[in-house]
């Protein structure tokens, strides 16, 4: 490594430890700190509408869910088409508590950090259970197993009266140090809460990938027989990949339920699972940065196409319902374009940009 860690223009690692640093230069660390500080400060400086905060909260919740999906699909190479169901498990852990103890129960309103953690744990338990077939199944067969879980989840919620047959089960407002979080502060409160959780989750995963458990995931993805020969346990690795993925999904689900003050089935359908996969692909499978870029890009695209559909619905004939087709069309087109032209996702652009800045003014 160069002596000057601020102005390093290349990779001069002398040890494995150096290569595994979270920030390779001080510049990177400084930019990251400034960015995080800006994320915390801007709502205090700029007047923001609840709608904008709601959208940002949604994006950050999706980021947590995609971090989980990236662990199982990106790093461990196990395709999961039931990720929305794991997110739903988190949300319905809160909903079930609300049904049993009442939505105003102190556990839900005051001990909400604990409930978020418990929801994550419930997601992890279900993840481990669904991950069991991964010991025997691979590729498409595993995809079908996860798809089955999605279907079973939807059927159970839709037909069990305990879960209100899929209709929203309400959850009361939470309390913080200053008392009950009012409607006025609701979205801002959850903005900060989710932001903290996103940062913590990001660091956890970044660190996990630096440990042997993280490297196990990648090894099993690249060649599970070779990993086995090297003394790793592919079966166990696959199960804990699903379990970890379920944990992050469960946390995302709990946050979704708290943000929307209720859990309803229509936020955890197969369509959402496909959307999560698309976010992971567009962001960049197998990269932590991709877990941040994917949800942001897809949600932004969603909002733009929503506006475009609404705008075009005025001109296009209603009978043909062409405006309805715009959203799936744009969604499908983006995925196909990324798969063809940039299979490594937006994270690769980020890598290229970083490398360009690092080497500037030299081209190589």
């Amino acid at each position: 490594m160069s002596v000057n860690r601020w102005l390093a223009t290349g990779n001069f690692y002398e040890s494995y430890k150096q290569e595994q640093r979270i920030f390779s230069t001080h510049c990177e660390r400084a930019v990251f700190i400034v960015f995080i500080v800006a994320l915390f400060l801007w709502p205090l400086l700029i007047k923001t509408s609840n709608t904008a905060l709601l959208v940002l909260d949604e994006i950050m919740i999706a980021i947590i869910a995609i971090i989980g999906l990236n662990l199982v699909t990106g790093f461990a190479g196990l395709i999961s088409i039931g990720h929305a169901a794991f997110v739903g498990i988190g949300a319905y852990t809160l909903a079930a508590t609300s049904r049993v103890l009442g939505d105003q129960h102190v556990l839900l309103t005051h001990a909400w950090p604990l409930m978020i953690f418990l929801s994550g744990t419930a997601g992890a338990v279900f993840g481990a259970f669904v991950g069991l077939p991964a010991i025997r199944l691979k590729h498409l067969y595993l995809a079908i197993a996860t798809l089955s879980f999605q279907m079973i989840f939807q059927w159970t919620i839709n037909f069990m009266s305990f879960f209100n047959q899929g209709q929203t089960i309400p959850i009361a407002r939470v309390y913080c140090f200053t008392g009950m979080v009012s409607r006025k502060d609701h979205y801002l409160f959850w903005y900060y809460t989710i932001l903290i959780i996103v940062v913590v989750c990001g660091f956890c995963v970044r660190n996990l990938l630096r440990t042997r458990y993280g490297r196990c995931l990648v090894a099993v993805r690249d060649n599970d027989r070779a990993a086995d020969a090297m003394g790793m346990h592919p079966g166990l690795t696959k199960v804990y990949a699903f379990s970890l993925s379920g944990f992050f999904a469960g946390i995302a689900g709990a946050l979704h339920a708290y943000l929307y003050r209720g859990a309803g089935l229509d936020s955890f359908t197969l369509h959402h699972s496909i959307t999560y996969l698309a976010m992971a692909i567009v962001g960049g499978l197998g990269t932590l940065a991709g877990s941040f870029f994917g949800p942001t890009a897809i949600k932004a695209l969603d909002l733009q196409v929503e506006q475009l559909s609404e705008w075009t619905s005025v001109f296009l004939p209603a009978a043909m319902n062409l405006a309805t087709a715009l959203k799936p069309l744009a969604f499908g087109l983006v995925i196909v374009l990324f798969l063809i032209f940039e299979p490594r996702g937006i994270a690769n652009w980020w890598r290229i940009i970083k490398s360009y800045i690092k080497l500037w003014p030299f081209k190589y």
Partner: protein, 421 residues
């Protein structure tokens, strides 16, 4: 740094399209702002979030046009003097998350009245309506909307009351012992809502046997189900779903030769449906199979002469709507929601009250007795009170005769709905 040229070109094209769309909207809102600042009169804002695209947009599209046209009509006819109503209409694609976002957006814009659409989103946002204390009229007539709610008002009788009303019609006109009935419902709160209430009416003395409740999926064939119902001697099927599953059901029944040619024909099935099952769209979908289908709603139809029908067609013509939209009962439904909102604001204004949510809520709950509202498009007056949040209490039954819905009875109030209250 090496980017792929074709990818960049395609991406830039898409982005440019989005930017153009955004610019178009911005320009429009700028013009509106100019107009607003030029006018001295008040502009009251109301919001409508509904499925203009996506699932159920076949109902949502004419509904939104009904609201839009009536608001424009009220502004042009100066129902509120120089004051105007601005109705912000947003597409939610039948997704609760998007409805929530739209609602928050409307609140930021300062709405005083809100029009919602689906059962799911109405139930999901119920607590928000309570906290915001904003009067809400949904397009969903689910009776559950009114439970633990002070601010939701149904424009017409609930699905439950409609289903009970149809059950009463069956019981009153059936010859022989207890009529054997089945219910064919949408697999959601919207579809399931009336089942328990009809069962309660039966328990309260309505002499009818409910043999089976069928939740339909996305079946393209109902042969097995229809044969099972026939084997159980079911004579009547009450549907509470949307038009396309009913059309499939009616087509299958005709193919199997089990559609009744007249009410209560033996060894055949007579089909009934509540508000969202019927209308001209059903006839378009089911064709001759729709013949003899019984349908209930609280609206007057444009194929029968009435002052309401003429007024509706006049408004549709004025704003250049096609025949399908002009004659749609969902267009009527949209007009109705807008009518109630406009009338409430008009009454508050006439009393010299400040036009805010609280005063509008008070006006709505005072809409009864001599203050009842008589829109032309319904079969009865709109009456609300602090205890009664269902508007039009009467309903009418139509039957498809020679490819057209014809009324077969006078407007009536369901007896057992009153008893169950």
């Amino acid at each position: 740094m090496k980017f792929k040229a074709p990818f960049i070109i395609i991406l830039s094209t898409i982005l440019s399209l989005f930017l153009l769309a955004g610019c178009g909207q911005k320009q429009e809102s700028g013009q509106e702002q100019g107009q607003r600042s030029a006018a001295k009169a008040h502009t009251y804002k109301i919001g409508l979030s509904l499925a203009i695209t996506g699932s159920t947009s076949d109902a949502g599209n004419p509904y939104s046009k009904g609201v839009e046209d009536y608001i424009n009509y009220a502004n042009e006819m100066k129902f509120l003097g120089d004051d105007k109503i601005k109705c912000m209409i947003r597409d939610d694609q039948y997704k609760n998350d998007v409805t929530k976002r739209n609602f928050e957006d409307f609140l930021s814009a300062g709405i005083i009245f809100y029009l919602n659409y689906s059962t799911g989103s109405t139930l999901a946002l119920k607590r928000d309506f309570e906290e915001e204390r904003i009067p809400v009229i949904p397009a969903s007539f689910h009776a559950g909307n009114l439970i633990d709610s002070n601010y939701i008002f149904l424009p017409i009788v609930s699905y439950s009351s409609q289903a009970i009303g149809l059950s009463e019609y069956i019981v009153n006109n059936h010859k022989g012992v207890n009529p054997k009935t089945a219910m064919f419902i949408h697999p959601s709160a919207f579809g399931r809502g009336p089942v328990e209430d009809v069962k309660k009416a039966v328990a309260a003395g309505l002499t009818m046997d409910i043999i089976e409740v069928v939740e339909h999926g996305r079946d393209l064939d109902n042969t097995a189900m229809l044969k099972r119902l026939i084997s159980k001697k079911v004579q009547y099927v009450i549907c509470n779903t949307v038009q396309s599953p009913v059309a499939t059901l009616l087509n299958d029944a005709q193919r199997l030769g089990i559609s009744a040619d007249e009410f209560g024909q033996e060894d055949k099935i007579t089909f009934f449906g509540v508000h969202y099952t019927g209308g001209n769209d059903l006839i378009a979908l089911a064709g001759t199979s729709a013949e003899n289908f019984f349908w209930t709603t609280s609206y007057r139809l444009t194929n029968e002469e009435s002052a309401g029908a003429s007024a509706q067609l006049e408004i549709a013509q004025k704003y250049g709507r096609d025949s399908k939209t002009a004659n749609s009962h969902n267009y009527t439904n949209g007009i109705m929601a807008a009518q109630i909102a406009v009338e409430t604001i008009r009454r508050a204004k006439a009393k010299g009250l400040e036009i805010n949510r609280s005063n509008l809520y008070n006006e709505l709950t005072a809409m009864n007795g001599f203050n009842a509202y008589y829109p032309l498009t319904t079969v009865g007056p709109v009456t609300f009170s602090s205890q009664d949040h269902a508007g039009v209490d009467t309903q009418i039954i139509y039957q498809v005769q020679n490819g057209v819905f014809r009324s077969i009875c006078n407007p009536f109030e369901s007896t057992y709905t009153g008893k169950l209250k």
